[in-house]
């Protein structure tokens, strides 16, 4: 079953590049490879262009596609990290409250920033929303982690129940913000509760990519420690790993990454569940391989979902969260039915 990792990575990369190109080509305005080449040369030479197609490509399509790819990578890597931390394959940022908490934090700013007037806006500028998203996401995740833990073990049942409760609280908080908001804000909050890449711009792409790279680098450095964590917290300690430090580091880095992405694109569920699951089947559970594989696979999968969102009902656009949930929920149920489903499938994995 397990592919030789020698082939897996080149294969994943080829898939990602193809999906990236197709995503750019397809859309309300279709962009050919030749347009891309021209636009990029113009852009590289610093020339202004008056071609509409080129502007659409540089200003709209490319940032959208890149933001989508990076977000997909982030959500999947986050799934891997959370699952490692909670020692359970059914955990993902949507389930443990990170995304919903981040959405609440972000919508809070969305509604109240205008009340406080422009001063705050000037002070922290475009970082205000991501910052509040981070705070919201961290609080929600910490609550779920603390409440679901008993005797240093995370019980699956309490994890699910606490997760449901915290998600409900965060969701109703966001609902309340919608209620307070004036009409145009309210519309964008609710749209963004389901996730969208409509407003993608280069600032978002840069910030999200930077955070993603830092977190991926840090977690790859800790890949061995995450592996040991699979044995159990105490056991990892016996193997020389400072588990408290590891948990703190992963929790904060991961929340920052997810919260920032969420603050720009809204809540996109189930990515962190499907991708790590599939990648575990392909490359195994060793985080040294699982993390980069999930990054590539997640980017490609969310791009495909986004193409669905843009094209299925074109010219209208479906919120992308609806698509990922439609596909993800059944996978989630499958995983729940068997923790044993994964267990029994193992067999001879050569």
């Amino acid at each position: 079953m397990k592919l030789k990792s020698k082939y897996t990575f080149p294969l994943l990369m080829i898939v990602l590049v193809i999906v990236l190109l197709v995503s750019i080509v397809l859309g309300a305005v279709s962009i050919s490879l030749e347009d891309m080449r021209l636009a990029l040369t113009h852009w590289a030479n610093g020339k202004q262009t008056d071609s509409i197609v080129e502007s659409v490509f540089i200003q709209i399509r490319l940032p959208r596609v890149l933001l989508c790819a990076v977000t997909g990578a982030i959500l999947s890597v986050s799934g891997v990290l959370m699952q490692g931390l909670f020692r359970n394959p059914i955990v993902e940022p949507g389930l443990v409250g990170t995304s919903a908490g981040a959405a609440l934090g972000a919508s809070f700013v969305f509604v109240f920033a205008s009340w406080f007037g422009p001063n705050i806006q000037v002070f922290v500028g475009p970082f205000l929303v991501p910052l509040f998203a981070f705070i919201g996401g961290l609080i929600a995740t910490l609550i779920v982690y603390q409440l679901s833990k008993s005797n240093s073990r995370v019980s699956l049942t309490s994890l699910l129940l606490v997760g449901v409760a915290i998600n409900a609280v965060a969701l109703s908080g966001t609902g309340f913000m919608t209620y307070l908001a004036r009409d145009p804000q309210a519309r964008s909050i609710s749209f963004w509760n389901l996730g969208t890449f409509t407003g993608a711009n280069w600032f978002q792409v840069e910030l999200v990519s930077l955070v993603a790279l830092v977190v991926l680098f840090l977690s790859l450095k800790d890949a061995k420690k995450l592996n040991a964590f699979i044995l159990g917290e105490e056991e990892a300690g016996y193997l020389g790993i400072d588990t408290k430090k590891l948990k703190r580091k992963i929790l904060i880095a991961n929340t920052a990454m997810v919260a920032i992405a969420t603050s720009f694109v809204g809540v996109i569920g189930f990515m962190g569940l499907i991708v790590p699951h599939v990648m575990r089947l392909l490359v195994g559970s060793d985080h040294r391989k699982l993390l980069p594989a999930s990054m590539l696979g997640g980017a490609a999968l969310l791009l495909i979902a986004d193409m669905g969102a843009r094209l299925l009902l074109a010219p209208a656009e479906i919120p992308i969260g609806i698509i990922t949930s439609l596909v993800g929920a059944p996978v989630y149920i499958l995983l729940l039915k068997g923790n044993n489903l994964i267990v029994n499938k193992g067999g001879n994995r050569d």
């Binding site: 592996n227 040991a228 044995l231 105490e234 056991e235 193997l239 559970s285 060793d286 193992g346 067999g347």
Partner: protein, 257 residues
Amino acid sequence: MINIENLSYKIQGKYLIQNIDCNISANELVVIMGANGAGKTTLLKMMSGSLLASNGTLLVDQKLIQSYSTQALSQKRAVLSQHYEISFPLSAREIIMMGRYPFFQSNPHEKDRAIVEEVLIQMEINHLADRNYQTLSGGEAQKVQMGRVLAQMKGGINQNKYLLLDEPVSHLDIKFQYQLLEIASAIKNEQTSVIAVLHDLNLALKFADRILFMKDGSIVHEHHKSEQIDVTVIKNVFGVDASIIELPELNRQWVCF
């Protein structure tokens, strides 16, 4: 190697370990026995450094155990626990490689790989090397975990080391119970000691250099290899009547219940 003085461990007002004194030297296989809830696992966890004393001191090589870093301790002792719960598919070989984690940064050295292969052969689990750990039987899984701690005991810096085994034979068939304890007693040497919790008194009598009998958090009796086992001790510790059969041709005693 390990010096324990007046050691106590208290949780929620209840003493799980009370005023224990004992010393464990290199080249010794010490077995801890006692009824359920006597504090065996707690004592083992204190020796592993994962539980810290409420009172008293526990010295490893003349230094307080809490003065060692997690990393330093991991190169000095290995621990086999009673239960493992693993929710992700990992091969047996990957699990055993974890025993080498204290000794390399992010990628295993050639030596680490060699040790893993050596352990696979030693534990007779070569055929399980690429199997998913989650599909192994209880006994097979236990052998893999034992392989992991064996890998952790090998190589590294030249220093005193000790191995802690909590009920290492609970899932094993008779042949492997003996084999595992033979392996355990083979690693003890001038620089290494082994401390194991066992439930089978006859197994303990065969392999142990010393048996510590625990009751209600204290060590109530110490049995040395050459001595005659005392039925009143067994009655006191386990609450059962026993009789001893001498097996002069094997130079052993056999305890019947």
